[in-house]
Amino acid sequence: MSAASRSDLGVKLAGRAEYGVDAELPGMLWAALVPSPVAHGRLRRVDLGPARALPGVVAVGADDLATLLPRGAGDAERPIFPAGEVAYRHQPLAAVAAPTLAEARRAAAVVRVEVEPGPALIDLETAFPDWPGPDGARSPHVIAHVHARHGDVEGAFRTAEHVVEETYRTSSVHQVALEPHACVATVRGDRWTVRTTTQSPFGVREDLSLLLGVPESSVVVEGTWVGGGFGGKGASLLEPYALLLARAAGRPVRLALDYREEFELGRTTLPAVIRVATAVRDRRIVGRRVRLLLDVGASLPGRDFATGYSIGFLLGPYVTPTFEVEGYGIRTNKPPFGPHRAPFAPQCAFVAESHIEEVARVVGVDPVRFRAEHLWREGATTPLGQPVGPFGLAAALERADALARRWRSEAPAGHGVGVGLGFWSTSTGAGGEARLVLSATELRVEQGERGIGSGSVLRGLVAVAERALGLPADRIRIEYLSTAEAPFDSGVYGSRTVGALGRAIVEASDAVRADLAGRMAVAVADVSLAVEGEEIVVHAPGVRRTVRSLLRPDEASRGIVATGRHFAKPNAIDERRVVTGSFYPYTDFTGAAHVAEVSVDRETGAVRVERYAAFQDVGVAVDPATARAQVEGGIAMGLGIALTEEALWSADGRLLNPHLLDYRIPTLGEVPVPEVTFVEGFLGAGPFGAKGLGEPPIIPVPAAVAAAVRDASGAHVTELPLSAERVARTLKLL
């Protein structure tokens, strides 16, 4: 099956796909947000009077919520507009709508905002120049504290032959989905409808229900085509403002960010400082210590997901008899931390891999062999006590190492080759349901989400249904429905689509077969489907029936409906090892070994990626072309994190590079076409043994590039990105 079978190719290549930014309704107003002028302060007054005095302008602020919302208030913990503390620059303080965008922008500009500026905390290390001490968790800046340990760590370090201790720093990176956030909202009676570009229509519905204080049944989310998500379109962002304005105006309202605002308001990965230490005896790791300071921006207490989630990635996929990890989520005056394709995991893998490479060199063991000797294999347990199931990472490393040796033997002077590992676990999200409808001539998959372009919905789910029911792809159609009609699913994120929703499709397919078998009075195992002419035909030994002939009168217009479910799957952490905080429960282990060949300019430090290869544990590649495309895309995004991407803030919380000129994602000129190899046979919990693939390919990239830079030049760079200047500094050229 070639990628050409994706059913969205035609509509997208013809420019006819409607994205969020394209949505338009008759009579709609255009909206703009009123941003906070400071990164931190106490809000004195937001005077909407001057804006409302302009012709045709509708304005809403904190004072209007009591009249606009049916219960007079939304989520007390997460007010739509702040009433007291302003937590980051550009935080929306009010919203306006007008007949044209220019008028809306002008109206936003005349709103009088009075804020008493307060001291802004921007740089992590100014808050904690030394590490947070024993009372660190009580600091008002700390909103999350996680701590776990196991075994006699102190003893392991005391009796070690080698102790390697290092500090790493990672940068803030943005998703850069090329389509900015955009939506059009309509409110009629108690029905709050929003057409929006989202990875999770049901997630947005739940969010809106809480934020606006209205029942979920009153909120309808219609997903458009999504111009890239990468985690940035998982939760609601603009929808509450647009809905409030639509309510106030009595007309549809369009709210879209321009690209500068996209950067300034985006919830994404923020900087971190990581200290790692490893104790070695007899060439074996005997103890690890990891400490993490993570900038979580203006995240609210209790809502940080990243700190505890990151710790496991910092330890890497390695057996460690004793360990202690401690992480602090630091609240700063930036937009809240938000998910970015494998949130913060590529940065963690960079730290874990660069560090273990350093340890191996200090100990005097080949870095790849050292890693292989400590790698988790099936049957091992993670430091937090979770059992490791089928896991192809060791097999991937073996093949990557062979290729790396070959490349190194071929490499010209100035080139270097490095290997990086990364692991991941497929999320199940909050579970969900699949609904299949079999008509006389086609199978429909009824869905709320369109996917984000990766093909996980359009190809992945279709391929699962193809395989489960034995129907060709051209008879399987995904039908997109609003949240009012679609079955619930928690969304396209966490590499969960094929793995989790795919399982529900298999279950629904089984239900279809069982239903057909019942109607034909044959055994389920004997039922097979085929296409003959226009008709879908069901075969069983000695029986052949068209689906048309099996439909009951009430099904004639629609077809046979079957559903399947999937559930959130817990995987117990050994709680005896947890001192405080919550950690991420890994479920279905996957990973990859990547090989990078780079050249390093020994005079300027400039790095160029010459060749790249990925050995990716996929369980089973349900649709190889789509799987390959996921890996290729993840690698390019990872190369950006490795080499050029870095959001920069001024000391007063202003984003210094909020545009695509100075926030540099890779262009076609910087990304080699990679060699992609699937490592199959280590089966996951997804359909047919598939594992999630949306996020894993990005994870090992910075690690592989850093290893290659070190191999080429000797530069052991401990900060991301590996800009030419950082490499030059590490090489002591400056």
Partner: protein, 292 residues
């Protein structure tokens, strides 16, 4: 009337497109001081108009003026102010006789941008990060101006005053840019991202076969790209010796008034100046002491 979608919070402007040079000058003069600005390709100007950094009441389009020209005469190249950069890049003689200029033009933005961006606009806007100004400096290029008081010719070095500041007088327009002679030349730059970025440092070098002297210009530091005559003298009157080149690179790294910013620190820029200068000079082909 206003479109439903004009994104700016700033007031709009009137666009006029005069059919003659005289009318264009008059249109620029007729607006209040600072109230009018000329537009050629507009690829840089429109960014300032969108952000409100510039808010002219009138924008005077040069599109109807017959300035999309490229002429070689007695070895000198004259480029009309409104010729798209892509046309300059596509000229085989430019690539052969002024390789550094070709490299500098190719370094500007993308193909689609170069279809509209112009040499006149680049000079007139005097962007601090211009890739073209350093090369024009090293080629001893001159700007032909036309204005209310007639025509004049100004060396690029005198024309470019500072970031966004030029020697243009009220009502005056850039008509063309003149490069006096073909020169073996090279333009090298370093960027954080090789494509579509602003140079951390760029070095333009050219050798005049007739006058047997080098010209060196550096860009990437405020307030504007600058010629380095002392450094050029270090290189002598032909293919420089390794010692001369080392001396020149060292002098350049010391002498240039460099500052640091978010793109590069001062010390890194100093390192780049020397390295890129050395490489650029070596990229200029010589054989037996004579340029090829």
């Amino acid at each position: 009337m206003e479109g439903p979608h004009a994104p700016r919070a700033v007031p709009g402007f009137e666009l006029v497109a005069p059919a003659s040079v005289e009318e264009a000058i008059a249109a620029l003069r007729a607006a209040d001081d600072g109230g009018a600005t000329a537009i050629a390709g507009g690829t840089d100007l429109l960014l300032d108009l969108d952000d409100g950094r510039l808010a002219p009441r009138r924008v005077v389009s040069l599109r109807r003026l017959p300035w999309r020209t490229l002429d070689w005469l007695d070895g000198a190249l004259t480029v009309g102010a409104t010729l798209p950069l892509r046309s300059l890049e596509d000229d085989r003689e430019v690539r052969r006789r002024l390789p550094g200029l070709w490299q500098a033009v190719h370094a500007v933005g993308s193909v689609a941008l170069r279809h509209r961006a112009t040499l006149g606009g680049n000079l007139g806007r005097s962007a601090p990060a211009s890739d073209l100004i350093p090369m024009l400096l090293a080629l001893d290029a001159e700007v032909d101006l036309v204005g209310p008081r007639g025509e004049r010719r100004v060396p690029v070095d005198d024309f470019v005053r500072a970031s966004r500041r030029t020697a243009l007088l009220p009502g005056e327009l850039i008509r063309s840019v003149r490069v006096p002679e073909p020169r073996p030349s090279a333009y090298l730059w370093q960027r954080v991202r090789p494509a579509n970025d602003i140079s951390q440092i760029a070095v333009a070098v050219a050798f005049s076969p007739g006058r047997r002297h080098w010209s060196i210009a550096v860009a990437g530091m405020p307030p504007r790209p600058a010629l380095l005559p002392d450094v050029a003298r270090d290189l002598g009157d032909g293919a420089p010796s390794d010692a001369a080149l080392t001396a020149a690179a060292a002098r350049a790294s010391r002498a240039v008034p460099i500052t640091g910013d978010q793109r590069a620190s001062e010390e890194y820029r100093r390192r780049l100046v020397g390295t890129l200068l050395t490489r650029a000079v070596r990229a200029v082909p010589f054989e037996g002491g004579r340029p090829l």
